[in-house]
Amino acid sequence: MLRERGETTNRVDTHPCFSQEAHRHARMHLAVAPACNIQCHYCNRKYDCSNESRPGVVSELMTPDEVVGRVAAVRRKIPQLTVVGIAGPGDPLANPGRTFETCRRLSAAFPNLMLCLSTNGLELSRYANTIARLGIHHVTMTLNAVDPAIGAQIYPWIFWKHQRIRGIEAAKILMEQQLEGLHKLATMDVLVKINSVLIPGVNDTHMKAVHQVIAGYGVFLHNIMPLIAEPEHGTYYGLMGQRVPTSHELAQVRSQCGDVSLMTHCRQCRADAVGLLHEDRGEEFTRSFQSRVIPIQVPVARREDEPCLFTLPKPALVAGPVSKYAPIRPSR
């Protein structure tokens, strides 16, 4: 479904990640989503880390209870704040309870702020209706391949229907869910941006096919960005010496793609970035800062009907041998 320019202008012009012209507006990433349901070879999550600037890295996690006070504190110092997003450090839709509770509280407290989230897309189809219902205006989905054989070189496993699935089967499920999720969002009033990581020798010659596929889904913007792979980051690609693309290679691939508008101003920022795109002020708004501001209490009705990624096994009713296994508690 193609959108009229006028329909989206207001929402785009104040979102710095969707429009280069919106660079005077600030965004805030809320690190409320620690878990992830897939493994990407270019990603690992790190906490308490202030010396790396890349997706998946945060200084500290937040809870939904903290977000309203934290956003209020940021707004006082950065009045240009127009967008609040959830981008990790895991996948927002792998933490649906925390993610959607955060969105509900923000909508109630700051109805003029735009809500945004980034996802790998594995659970996008399942939660597309919830996303639209909660008024999440912008969604960014990472799509690196539309061929499972190529996807299997990027994703070693996914967590799907309570099982870890590997290889081409995993990539196939992921891509099916991603495209189904895109199809659903295309029928809703949600602006979609696709992020694609350019990985030389893996998906560089495939990127044009990715671009052509997403063009059929009403995607607003395609952000083809270079792989980040440094050994000290500890990712598979970083440790295995995977080459990153040159600026020439990046430009060449981008030049082959023109069916959807391309984003070229992405800063590949942290999952707790705050401020304008060119200046991350996240460190100013950590808990130590929060302790000096007055929290704002906003009554919000809690919904308990959102399904959770994890379900607790039934408690043991009889004594048995002590096990080293233990359940992961629900994320809420």
């Binding site: 690992n44 308490d48 496993w157 870890r164 000290e232 440790l239 359940p327």
Partner: protein
């Protein structure tokens, strides 16, 4: 979750028997060697989740302990 980390309640654990085909902690945890079986052995040994060979991982851990507190 406690203080942003998934915690284990060993007393409640029944290894997901009759609930799921795989113990869910082992099925989702991305950290190699984090989950032990009832013999005390890692369910996911080094390299089984990330694909990074043990020798390369061991060498990499010496690069910077500051930057690599965890392999997630």
């Amino acid at each position: 979750m406690i203080h942003g980390r998934f915690m284990i309640i060993a007393a409640l654990c029944r290894e997901c028997r009759d609930d799921f085909p795989q113990a869910q902690c082992a099925a989702i945890c991305p950290v190699e060697e984090a989950i032990l079986d009832n013999q005390g052995m890692p369910v996911h040994p080094v390299g089984s989740l990330t694909g990074v060979p043990p020798a390369i991982r061991a060498a990499a851990q010496g690069i910077s302990s500051l930057c690599m507190p965890e392999f997630l």
